[in-house]
Symmetry: C2
Subunit: 331 residues, 2 copies
């Protein structure tokens, strides 16, 4: 027994988007069935003047694996030509506590996040959705556009960003993955035109006004993942049918935090409207064609573990992976 | 730039107890000076029927390094002849978020914990302390006996354990490190005889009664590190001068949790009585020769980071360390 050290480029070669989506689906079903658990998210603020770290941990009781992911966000990296986000996942065997793998998961993180969006859009977005609106053009936004285009017959992609910094690489990546060249417009125009609206910004104030959103729109609220983050008017959330990845987390660090604070939603409401319950058919999705639906995703540690388990299975057969020992349990 | 993977045996060879104690001293001073931060402890319960995991993270603002340690406790490992505890520390550069090292830190964890005990005993225990009492004979207990013997003229070691399981290996290790063969006795006898009493058990009820402890005794309360754990009568804590590694943590998962709940101590009291403040000379230690002092240690993430930084410095010069890349930031 030894520990696999899988670098980011190798990890990415180990999986396809289809496989990631299937693994993420399974883990949300396991969570719904009580066969997986998610622990508290640690937000390490004040670690550096601009860089932030987060730690997310979870266990899959079906496979007996525990994971802890350290994610970092260093916006200054862009100036150095480096990615702003990194994700490093450690996986452990719950029978002995032995470390099993360390995986560079920067791009996998983008895929596991977008996979949840795709799963929710399959069940919530109008089948005829043709126009995708994307707010934000960072690293994650391209993954979200790709994910939605896989599950709905999108013909146009409209997008908006606060700064022009990442617009070029976003356009290139979206074109490469979806065949559609995104068009840039004002935030209001994007929101008004969208059949599906993906919000993928680090905003701390509402960007999307209630009156901009047409009946029947599906919103993938992917940006808010910390206390204080917000992309949607609280009235927009109030008037929508909201689903979450995990109720306890969404109520504190997700887009739902503001509606919960305003008294429009409770944690108990959200506990019945999880992606797991939706996938299991335990709760109704969209109730009417003119209803606005929201999928509030702050990203849960089980998505990391699901992808990591896929990578471990594939990487075990590869030659370009480092095998070593770390604890006394492997030696 | 690459990531160092340092296995447990190599990591242990990189440092001495003196160096660990000096590094732990520096980091407690940095915490006191506001130049280091500790984040919430994650206790992953229900991950397995017997195995538990914990995640502790911290940042050293002086060096620009962030760490997350995953610790595991799998009591069933003993039957397989494997260590019950493992610790794996990941270290990151706060400027870019890049991973710097993964370190197998099982034995280092024992040393970093005992180093805080030694630092506190230097400042709190009576200089003439001759008899050390140890409750518990697990993995950590031997480190604690070793640490105390380094800082006080201990001549006798009395110990007690609930089960005889680890008694032999404890006796062998203590003899090897201190030259003293520990004598076994009842819990009460050990407590009554001790000038310094180290409690190192996983107990969830008080083991040491108020009336057993002589005036002037110093107690190193090392066992309680989770909600519900307890080793000392709450009246014993009430009647003692209590110091902590970190107030916010001790009040929730340390021995102090019970005195805080009973109203005998507040978090604000404890905030003035930290090991950092004691080391900086900002608070008086023992006030009278007949006072009972308690050092309540639940173990903080900065101790892990301090030791990890030492290991990184040394390991960088060694040949028996794996150097690889994990994220896109090192490639």
């Amino acid at each position: 027994v030894c520990v696999l050290i899988v670098s980011e480029p190798v990890a990415e070669q180990c999986v396809t988007f289809d496989e990631v989506e299937a693994a993420v689906r399974e883990i949300f079903l396991a969570l719904h069935a009580g066969q997986a658990r998610v622990f508290e998210v640690v937000r390490a603020t004040g670690a550096h003047k601009t860089t932030g770290f987060g730690v997310k941990s979870a266990v899959n009781l079906r496979t007996g694996r525990f994971s802890a992911k350290v994610g970092s966000y260093a916006p200054d990296n862009a100036r150095r030509g480096l990615p702003a986000h990194t994700s490093t996942i450690l996986v452990f065997d719950t029978a002995t506590g032995a470390p099993v793998a360390m995986i560079g998961a920067g791009r996998l993180n983008g895929m596991r996040t977008a996979a949840a969006n795709a799963l929710a859009a399959r069940l919530l977005a109008a089948p005829s959705s043709r126009v995708l609106g994307v707010l934000g053009t960072g690293h994650q936004a391209a993954f979200e556009a790709w994910a939605v285009c896989r599950v709905r017959p999108i013909e146009r992609i409209l997008c908006w960003a606060r700064t022009s910094q990442s617009v070029e690489s976003f356009a290139t990546e979206v074109k490469a993955h979806t065949g559609i060249r995104p068009e840039f417009a004002e935030c209001e125009q994007v929101a008004r035109a969208a059949d599906i609206l993906a919000t993928v910004t680090p905003s701390t104030r509402a960007l999307v006004r209630r009156e901009w959103v047409r009946p029947g729109t599906h919103i993938a609220a992917m940006g808010a993942d910390a206390a204080g983050k917000q992309e949607l008017d609280v009235e927009l959330v109030r008037d929508s049918r909201v689903f979450v990845d995990r109720a306890e987390q969404a109520a504190v660090i997700g887009e739902s935090q503001h509606a919960v604070r305003a008294g429009y939603l409770t944690v108990e409401d959200l506990q019945t409207r999880t992606l797991g319950a939706l996938l299991a058919g335990a709760v109704q999705g969209r109730e009417r064609a003119d209803q606005i639906t929201v999928f509030d995703s702050s990203g849960i540690a089980l998505q990391d573990l699901a992808v990591a388990e896929l990578v471990i299975e594939r990487a075990a057969k590869r030659a370009d992976v480092v095998r070593t020992t770390v604890s006394l349990l492997e030696t």
